[in-house]
């Protein structure tokens, strides 16, 4: 007899429908699974057999063939276990076959018959709704996550037996109660903890308001990481769609199981990361740090220590807001809309400009600069020097709180959204040269200063565009429609310096 169950494979971060067909015929007892599965799928035979028997069902001593369709899609992971087991029960008449109609199943089985926590439930739930399913069986641990999708009955079960009894007509167990959303903990990083660092705080605010990527330069231990960690706290809160996307990605990566993620992600990969680890890749392709930082902040500490291939791999994610990974005949795309914050020492020893402590030679500095240069620097609109705060500053009061700054940022973002409608850019940091020309609105004095900086050789052509973008954001923060001279000067002081500056010889 033949039974069919709907489930979903995770393809990149998106669900793809998979039909599980289980057929039981007379013949020598055997259990084969076909349909381009990986090792985990092949091994599920043994898990299913034990789980079925341990759940006090009968395991048919006949010839069992399971097929995972479409046969052309590569299927990985243990998430098909529960679907196959229920299909087997239906095919062997231990479960009414009709009960599986319109119901999707997802989850890994233990030998004892329990449904185990399986990453990607939110993506599966989205797929189920899109495919027109009405019910979805998921492991209990992932129920809250799956329940984020509206218009779908989530059946949260912890054992195969429980799943079978619900399908046979028993009432579904109640959903586990939502965990109380942990109120923003006292320990959440807040700008109010920061002492001193007046200028870096300003730069953070501008970066957040305009979506500008930021480079922080400073000696070791001056607080670059501490500052970067506080950037998410001043970004506007995630919209519901953004939150669901973030949750789905984190769920697929196996990072999250409890409800909706409400805070913007902050990812700080170590500099030994590979290109695939940063941008996504491997086989089957998995999201990289750039995707995990989607709608949040990607922080690269010690930028010059990152491998060149890894940094090169960030190029497309930064330019396009997504990365496509091609494997064989197929191409997958992962969203990568993050803000990049990078930190670097000013020189290999880290102490350039700190009295006489720097011991680096010209060649070292040159090498350091060269490692930093390249396409990535092009995308970093802001450069701020982070210095050790003075003793008096450390003992003084803090400048601002995240809530205050967050409000200003939100207002500035709103101004941008209204102005940039129809240009394809969502914030000032996304403006191309054309959008900048049409919307920047420099006043006469600012225009003159910009021209002077350009002719004096302080700016390259691209640097000029970056300064205009940043000046636009500064004006937005100040609530003015035109970019004035002070706005432009401030932007100039936070510009990226040309490669040869800061090295002895031009």
């Amino acid at each position: 007899m033949l039974a069919q169950v709907t489930t979903f494979a995770i393809d990149g971060v998106d669900p793809r429908q998979v039909w599980l067909e289980v057929d039981i015929r007379a013949g020598l007892p055997a259990f084969t699974i076909v349909g381009l599965g990986d090792t985990a799928v092949r091994e599920s035979r043994d898990r299913i057999r034990s789980a079925v028997l341990n759940s006090r069902f009968r395991f048919p001593d006949r010839r069992i063939t399971a097929n995972l369709a479409p046969a052309s899609l590569r299927k990985a992971g243990p998430g098909f276990d529960a679907g196959l087991a229920l299909g087997l029960l239906a095919a062997s008449d231990q479960l009414p076959a009709a009960s599986l109609e319109g119901c999707a199943v997802f989850g890994e089985l233990s030998l004892g018959g329990e449904l185990r926590d399986s990453p990607g439930a939110l993506a599966v739930a989205e797929g189920a709704r899109r495919a027109g399913c009405t019910r979805l069986i998921v492991p209990r641990q992932r129920a809250r996550e799956a329940a984020l999708v509206e218009g779908l009955e989530i059946i949260a079960v912890s054992t195969l037996r429980e799943a079978a009894s619900v399908l046979a007509g028993a009432p579904a167990p109640p959903l586990p109660r939502a965990e109380v959303e942990p109120a923003p903990a006292e320990s959440a990083p807040d700008l109010a903890d920061v002492r001193g660092h007046e200028v870096p705080l300003l730069a953070l605010q501008i970066a957040a308001a305009g979506g500008h990527n930021l480079l922080m330069e400073g000696a070791p231990g001056t607080g670059k990481t501490m500052l970067a960690r506080r950037l998410p706290s001043i970004l506007p809160p995630l919209s519901r769609e953004e939150a669901i996307e973030v949750t789905r990605i984190h769920s697929v990566a196996g990072l999250h199981a409890r409800g909706l993620i409400q805070t913007r992600p902050f990812r700080a990969p170590h500099h030994s990361i590979s290109a695939a680890g940063l941008a996504g890749g491997a086989s089957p392709p998995r999201p990289g740090e750039a995707t995990l930082a989607n709608h949040g902040v990607l922080f690269l500490d010690e930028l010059s220590e990152f491998g060149r291939p890894a940094l090169e791999a960030l190029r497309q994610p930064l330019e396009d807001g997504e990365v496509s990974i091609v494997r064989g005949q197929r191409s997958l795309s992962f969203p990568t809309r993050f803000m990049l914050v990078a930190a670097t020492n000013p020189c290999p020893c880290g102490f350039a400009g700190v009295e006489d402590r720097c011991t680096c030679g010209e060649a070292d500095l040159r090498r350091h600069r060269r490692r930093l240069s390249g396409p990535l620097l092009d995308r970093l609109d802001l450069l701020v020097d982070v210095r050790r705060p003075a003793d008096a500053e450390l003992r003084g009061p803090s400048h601002v709180s995240s809530a205050q700054v967050g409000e200003r940022v939100a207002v500035a973002r709103e101004r941008q959204r209204a102005r940039l409608q129809g240009t394809g850019a969502g914030c000032n940091g996304d403006m191309d040269a054309r959008a900048a020309r049409h919307t920047a609105a420099l006043d006469g004095e600012a225009e003159a200063e910009l021209a002077r900086a350009y002719t004096e050789g302080l700016l390259s052509a691209r640097g000029r565009l970056r300064v205009v973008r940043v000046a636009r954001t500064i004006a937005d923060l100040a609530g003015s429609e035109r970019i004035g001279r002070p706005d432009l000067l401030l932007a100039l002081s936070l510009r990226q310096r040309l490669a040869q500056e800061g090295v002895g010889v031009g």
């Binding site: 200028v199 010209e362 500095l365 020097d385 002081s493 800061g502 002895g504 031009g506």
Partner: protein, 359 residues
Amino acid sequence: MSARVCPDCARRAWLLERLAGHLEPVRERIAELLELDDRALVAAVGGEHRSAIEDELERQEVSELEDRAERAGVEIVCRCDSAYPVALRDLPSPPSVLHVTGSLERLTALLEEPSVAIVGSRRPSSYGLETTRRIAGELARAGLTVVSGMALGTDAAAHTGVLDALGATVAVLPGGADVAYPARHRRLLARIRERGVAVSELGPGVMPRRWMFPARNRIIAALADLTVLVQGRERSGALLTAEWAARLGRGTGAVPGQVAGPLSAAPHRLLREGATLIASAQDVLDAVYGVGAVLVPRRRTARLEPSLTALLEAIADGEEGQAAFARAGLVGESGMAALARLELDGLVRRGPGGRYLAR
């Protein structure tokens, strides 16, 4: 394009290039060897080719040397000519022919001003680079001529400091006067030649050999009234330049470094031996003209607003960040904007680590 070379000097110039390879193994004694006359030099290093070289030497024509220089766009002047820099005649072995790119006229004009050689390590620290640049720039603004060797590090920083102050500078090259060595400094050589000159003892196109560096150093020392050493290790080549300067009766000066730093070995040794301590361009001017006779020109700051003037002073005193802002009554935003204005006006620039430095 002038070509003023007598047959004797032309032959000597040819001989030096012909013997370039022969001089390499005996470069330790290059100073004495260069003092020998043509015959003795051939006898000393010619080896088995001695007679062939002597025959060839007899056949050398001035016109050949002149043609080659003309093709390369290099001016030549020999030590018997009145346009030859007088200062070089103090050497026991003045270069027989001086090759000049830029222009000979310009070289003469530049050498009419007091000249200062700035030399030092090829791998200086950022402190050394900054000091070199600053002093060189200020000397150029005070009207002095800065001489150096266009080597990596200190030399290049000296030239760059002058060029950034819109001054002219003299580069004494080890190889041909048209050969950028190190090749990385091709751009720098072009910049030097726009307003200043590059000179060499050797003909156009000659690639540097190791003996040419100490030989070049003697020319630097001779051209300058004062040789300032910035940083150098125990056995720095820059010490040779300073030794030449002392031998020629020229002044020597040294910029002190960190007490224990390896790069302080050479300058501190000079200081111990009686060199003038150089901490600023003013020290150089005092050494050249007498104390207080000429002052480093101050940059125009008359039109600046009071807050900008205060900020500039704070930076010149080495303050930065909030401390500097506080002195000028500024805060983060207005302070940064003020810094950008000073930078646009060319009154401050960004040094290592992005630090603001007064020009």
